[in-house]
Subunit: 343 residues, 2 copies
């Protein structure tokens, strides 16, 4: 179970995707995004995904060097077509476009279709908030990758449909990155990879029975992630599927999706236009300080704001390195070494 | 426990607020909104609130006949000041403004401050979706009305912070109206009013202990509503407080709020600008049909989409009438009769 330093891990990711033929921009985004996800403790979106990405690149599901096309555009919105290029680059460019448009006005929305997995949504909302804007990003599975049964149903009908919000505060950023299920699918996959059971309440099997067997999620027959709060998480999953899939033209979850990816919705709001940047950021800072001042509940030593655990984990892992499962590390280094000897 | 027909109930509301001195527009919005909330089964936002409203009008906390002021405006956004007027009218006008702006372009955001309780958010998002737009509305307690402790904390630091989404589909509307707590405060208040216990898991007491005593929510000492999914509901509550309070200038939850109301955020998105109205609505309809086709789970006979239970309840109550608690009905009719005899 190797512990790899962030710099070495980035270099390994860099070498592997360069050898595979990715462009300089693609390599840069992949290494920063994947290792960045590991650094903040979101291993499910970290280098664990590389073997899948390699498989998808080789199978043509992720297209290296693809162009980002503008389907329609105005000063406040755009619909983009990613031509199934590398999601981490397409998502980054879409977020940049949303930032430019919102900065010049009041708010903007950018939709992105035909795009492979864009990864951890918090990266994009954080980019937006770092520019002083409120960011909101959602993705669905581009019609596929369904893992969630509706509230009251047994058969999967929705992708996991995460959402992220980030807000600038006068000395930092509030960053929220959640799925409307009790846990994200990636967390169950990590448990399955490590041969560990999942806690009660994460998933149900194909007959709707609670189970701790991580493998019951995908079956066969497939089970389901449990929506958080039952009908509430189900409702949030519906709206994310629609914002992401229907506004982009990538499509909502459906029975005949022939590939999966991330249809994406990005919203950026410029506080300067509403109440002025300084008033907004000061208000947010004072609010977060007030929230943190609540007396801790039994079992807690302090109230943490979303984004704080990630920042602390990043500091720790920058010093101590990143834990990578044997299977992931072995596969990554094998692929890299094979490419080196037989490019 | 009287059962009142919708028409009689509207007339009663109409008479009471007219006698109190409300304008014709205010009376119209109040009767439609309050009885409309009862009709769809959301009794917590129905005529139950009238005694409080009367108290607030008499105390000057709700200002009859107040003007809606435009603080700042552009083709895509506005910040409005409600001058503490009737929330149901101010919210309705703000939503109308968001609709006009989004219809002429791509999307719009309208913020509203110094506004009393706007009531059930689903009314406003439904208005927006009825015009073919995607609607999103959030409110906080205008800094006050705190009822939720942060995740990991004991002392209340957030208002309930509900959110509503609605989406047009080719033969109807998807309408979501949820709080990021296990239940809304109004539901606990209804239980307390009826002298019933609350189910385990709705609220905790002032020391963070689970309780079924509906009165433990407000104490003293005050307990807390439980955020849905723990840190997830807490995170959603934070973003709603910020969108509503910080973008409007009404302020986020804070220690020194001297009155409560609803600072409001309204977003409207025009699907026509993204993929065309027809393609969007057809995609949403097919998605919802697909979701509903999931085999029912044990204990369910079908999968219901958010908004369907409300529509069914409305049909039923239009026929069968509206159940109003004795205490509420007696108070409303007493106030009306007093005003009639001594205006």
């Amino acid at each position: 179970m190797p512990v790899i330093g962030a710099i070495e891990l980035k270099q390994t990711v860099h070498d592997l995707f360069t050898l595979l033929g990715a462009t300089g921009d693609e390599v840069q985004r992949l290494q920063d995004h994947l290792v960045g996800s590991n650094l903040v403790g979101h291993d499910s979106h970290g280098v664990r995904v590389i073997p899948d990405y390699v498989h998808m690149i080789r199978g043509g599901d992720i297209v290296l060097g693809a162009d980002l096309e503008i389907v329609t555009e105005s000063p406040t919105h755009a619909v983009l077509d990613g031509n199934w290029g590398v999601g981490q680059l397409m998502g980054w460019r879409a977020a940049q476009l949303a930032i430019e448009k919102a900065k010049q006005g009041t708010l903007s929305a950018v939709s992105l279709r035909n795009c492979s997995h864009i990864g951890r949504l918090g990266e994009y909302t954080q980019m937006i908030a770092d520019q002083g804007l409120v960011g909101f990003v959602t993705v669905n599975g581009h019609g596929g990758a369904q893992g969630v049964a509706p509230w009251g149903g047994l058969e999967r009908r929705l992708s996991v449909n995460p959402m992220s919000y980030a807000v600038p505060a006068s000395d930092g950023v509030l960053m929220i990155d959640i799925s409307p299920t009790v846990v994200a699918a990636g967390k169950v996959a990590v448990k399955a990879l490590r041969g560990e059971p999942v806690p009660e309440g994460w998933i149900v099997d194909s007959e709707g029975r609670s189970t701790t067997d991580a493998n019951a999620l995908n079956g066969p027959p497939p089970g389901s992630l449990i929506p958080v709060g039952g009908h509430k998480g189900f409702a949030l999953g519906l709206i994310v599927d629609i914002l992401s899939g229907a506004l982009s033209g990538g499509g909502c979850s459906r029975s005949d999706a022939d590939r999966w990816g991330n249809a994406t919705f990005i919203l950026a709001i410029n506080p300067e236009a509403f109440v002025g940047q300084q008033q907004f950021e000061t208000e947010v800072r004072e609010f977060l300080d007030y929230v943190k001042s609540s007396r801790p509940a039994p079992g807690f030593t302090e109230v943490l704001i979303p984004g704080e655990p990630e920042n602390r984990e990043k500091e720790r892992r920058m010093k101590e390195g990143i834990f990578v499962e044997d299977r992931t590390w072995d596969t990554i280094t094998e692929i890299r070494d094979e490419l080196k000897s037989d490019p």
